[in-house]
Each structure stands twice: as C-alpha cells, then as structure tokens.
C-alpha cells in the first residue's frame, strides 16, 4: 500500500487549476497552428491569429485564456494500491479553490441551480475511477459553459443506420453554430447508459489531438469542416480541430449517443502522483 497525503493532492489540484487556465494544451496549440496555416479564408485566418495571440498573451501575462474559467471538472484515476491519507474530495476542492483564487479566475459556480444566489469557485465536479496500480492521476478540465450549453444526448434504436448517428453528431455542431466558439473539438460518447454516454463524451475531450483517429472520426471531422461554419461562425475551412469518440458496451435494446462540444480554448492539465 502506497500512502499519498491529502495535502499533496491539494497542492497538485491548485497547480493544475492554474496551469489549465493559463497555458493552452500543446496539442490544442498545434491544432490551432495547423488550422491557421491551412486556412484560406482571410477573415477566418485573422480570427485564428487572434486566438493564437490570445494564448500567448494569457501565458505571458498570467491572464486566464478565457474569462469563463469554467466549471472545474476533475478526473481522478486512483490506483487501488494507494491509500489516501485524509479526505480526497475535500483536498481536491480545497486545491481548486486556492488555484482559482490565486489565479484571479472567475467565480462562476452557483450553489443552487434554481435559486442561483451568489457565485463562487466550488464545488468541482469530481469523477473517481479505481484503476490497478499504486499511482494517482489527477486531471483538471475547466469547462466553459458557452460550449457546455450545446451538449446533447440521443437514445437511438439499436437498429439505427450509422448515417443517422453521423447526422445527429453533425447537427449538434450545426446547432451550436458560432455560439460555442469554433473551431471546436467534438467529444462523442457512444454506448453505455444515458449518463455514461454523456460522461464519455466529456472524457473524449481529454484525449490529445493527434491528427489521426478512427475512420469514423476522420470522416465526421471532414463533414463538420465542410459545413463552412468556421472560426467565430464567420466562414472558413476550420469548424473543428478534431472529433474524438469514446465507446462502451451497451444494451441490446439501445444505442445512446452523446455529444459534448469544446470551444477552441480546450483546457486541461494532468499530473501523476
């Protein structure tokens, strides 16, 4: 049994919150640079340049990449041979709170979805997965709501044609249009249950943009970019940087498909303790 102190986890969460909001992921930066160099539409190219400049300014001046520093989503892969000394979730929340306060990030979280009230940093949304081993992997994904608001779930019949699934995914992107800050990364969860498909769609955003991917992912990306929505929805060849699909076994009676869009400021940071 390996012991990891709550304090160590808290400190890591603080640092990850800071990192994710100040420094755009390297794979996202590379994806944006590639989009910029390939874009022929003049206005789209200008916008992509502004997006790249924004990332550089954020890193240099220690300003949040986006004012919407999101709902802090935290993914924990907890090795089953790890013993956390102290309260895991309390440590994560306390670390996120410190990171957000020190970074002067936005208080975007309200305690009650109906009565609203004043806003703060907490709670973080924490997903814990127990995995083999004696390590603890912590990932912080600040998810802005301009794009989270465009997420959708559809429970298809098991006999559905693949074309209908593709159409649904592309329609989610079309419905988002300019509102969710394209160029997007499109996360898709297929299978499991309604809630699990939605979780997978979100988790798909953590995967690095590689320019590779399955045939279905590449085909969807091509079709999404054919819509011509473009950066800021003002036209161009770059509506999405990537489509990431995560799937899971499901029931004979169903086929859940969930789509979670990320804006171009796809932010996350991880550490293994």
């Amino acid at each position: 049994m390996r012991r990891i102190s709550a304090l160590k986890i808290k400190t890591a969460a603080t640092e990850l919150a800071r990192q994710a909001n100040f420094f755009l992921r390297k794979d996202v930066l590379a994806g944006l640079r590639k989009a910029y160099s390939g874009e022929k539409n003049k206005r789209a190219k200008n916008i992509l340049k502004a997006i790249l400049d924004n990332a550089a300014i954020a890193a240099k001046e220690k300003l949040a990449i986006c004012q919407d520093t999101g709902m802090p989503c935290v993914f924990v892969e907890l090795g089953q041979e790890v013993r956390v000394e102290g309260d895991l979730k309390k440590a994560i929340n306390s670390g996120i709170e410190d990171g957000y306060a020190k970074g002067y990030f936005r208080r975007s979280i309200i305690k009650d979805p109906l009565s609203r009230g004043s806003s703060g940093y907490l709670p973080a949304l924490i997903h814990v997965d127990i995995v083999p081993g004696n390590k603890l992997k912590l990932t912080v994904l600040p998810k802005g709501f301009g794009c989270e608001n465009k997420a959708q779930l559809k429970m298809f019949n098991p006999t559905v044609k693949i074309e209908d699934i593709k159409k649904f995914i592309i329609d989610v992107v079309k419905t988002a249009g300019p509102d969710a800050c394209p160029p997007y990364v499109v996360g898709v969860g297929i299978g499991g249950t309604a809630d699990y498909a939605a979780f997978l769609a979100k988790k798909a955003l953590l995967r690095k943009i590689s320019g590779k991917g399955s045939q279905l992912e590449r085909e969807l990306l091509k079709q999404i970019n054919k819509t011509g929505i473009g950066p800021m929805g003002l036209g161009g060849a770059n509506t999405a940087l990537a489509v990431h699909i995560e799937s899971y076994p499901t029931h004979i009676a169903g086929l859940p498909v969930s789509v979670n869009i990320s804006c171009h400021a796809l932010r996350s940071a991880s550490v293994v303790l």
Partner: protein, 175 residues
C-alpha cells in the same frame, strides 16, 4: 481600419454594414444574464436604472477577477442569444449598441432595425487579448452579482465586426 467613438453617432452607424470591421473607443458597460434580468425588472416597475441606457453600448461580458496590478482580468464576450429575451425592451429604452458573440433571434434583428441600433461581435474566447484594449474599469452597479456586475469600461480601439446592422441584416445570413 474604420474607427468609431462613443457616444455613437447615429449617422455614422446608419451607414455601417454587416461584415464591416472597425475599432471602437470610448465607454461601454458589461451587462450579462442576471444584470439584464434586473434591468428589465426595473424598467417594468418604472424604477430608476443604475446606468443611462439611452445611447449606451453594452458588452455581454463577465470578466474574471482583476489580477493585482492589472486594469481588468480576462474579458471576452459571452453568448448573445441568452440576452435575446430582454433585448427588445432595452432597445426601446434607447440602448444604442451591443457587443457579444454568436447569432441573434429574429425578434432581436427586427428590434435592431426598428430602433436603428447595431449588434457587433468581437473575438470569441480571446479574453486575455481583449483585456489589452481596456484602459479603465469600474463597477457601477449590482456589485453583489460578482462576475455579473455592471462595469463601466473605457476602451481604446476595441476590435469589432458588425454582425447585425441597423437595416437588420445579419452577417450570419437569414437564420
């Protein structure tokens, strides 16, 4: 690039067309969801408004907290569509221009045409970049709303694209 200043000259605005790019200098107010709700409630009650809407430019924005030694934190636009339910009422009260991101509904486009107003978009998801165009920032109303308080901003050469012009034409086309 064309430059415009606040207060926005009616004649100058009239000639602007959807798709034109320009730089704005002067005073703008950050107003987003909850502040819209409060302004609309105050208008319906006939109460005094905390800012003068006549001729005003509002920016759909909720900045981060102000970092030490800086004028403002990251401050990009938020989705305009969420304000649509309140917009015709504010336009009727003299609101001159709006800055945000994304499309507007049909009713808002018609109200923009009716009141000879204008809707701009600015670089979305570029809050750190846009902070550089803000020269002064001060909370003027609804401080209890935190990031949704109304701030008065002085901006210099703030980059804009006309998204719905005073004739009601949209850069995003008919839908």
């Amino acid at each position: 690039m064309k430059k415009i200043n606040t207060p926005l000259d009616l004649n100058k605005i009239k000639s602007l067309k959807a798709g034109e790019e320009l730089l704005l200098s002067g005073t703008i107010y950050t107003v987003r969801d909850q502040a819209h709700k409060r302004l609309a409630e105050a208008i319906k009650k006939g109460a005094r408004l905390p800012i003068e809407l006549k001729g005003a430019v509002i920016y759909y924005c909720g900045p981060t907290q102000r970092p030490k030694g800086k004028i403002i934190g990251s401050c990009g636009p938020t989705t305009s569509l969420r304000m649509d339910a309140f917009t015709p009422l504010l336009l009727a009260k003299g609101l001159r221009a709006m800055i945000g991101k994304g499309k507007r509904g049909q009713e808002v486009k018609e109200a923009i045409r009716k009141y000879k107003s204008i809707y701009f978009v600015t670089y979305a998801g570029c809050g750190a970049l846009l902070a550089g165009y803000v020269k002064k920032a001060q909370t003027v109303a609804y401080g209890d709303l935190g990031p949704e308080a109304i701030l008065k901003l002085e901006v210099k050469d703030f980059p804009l694209i006309v998204a719905v012009d005073p004739k009601g034409r949209s850069i995003y086309g008919k839908d």
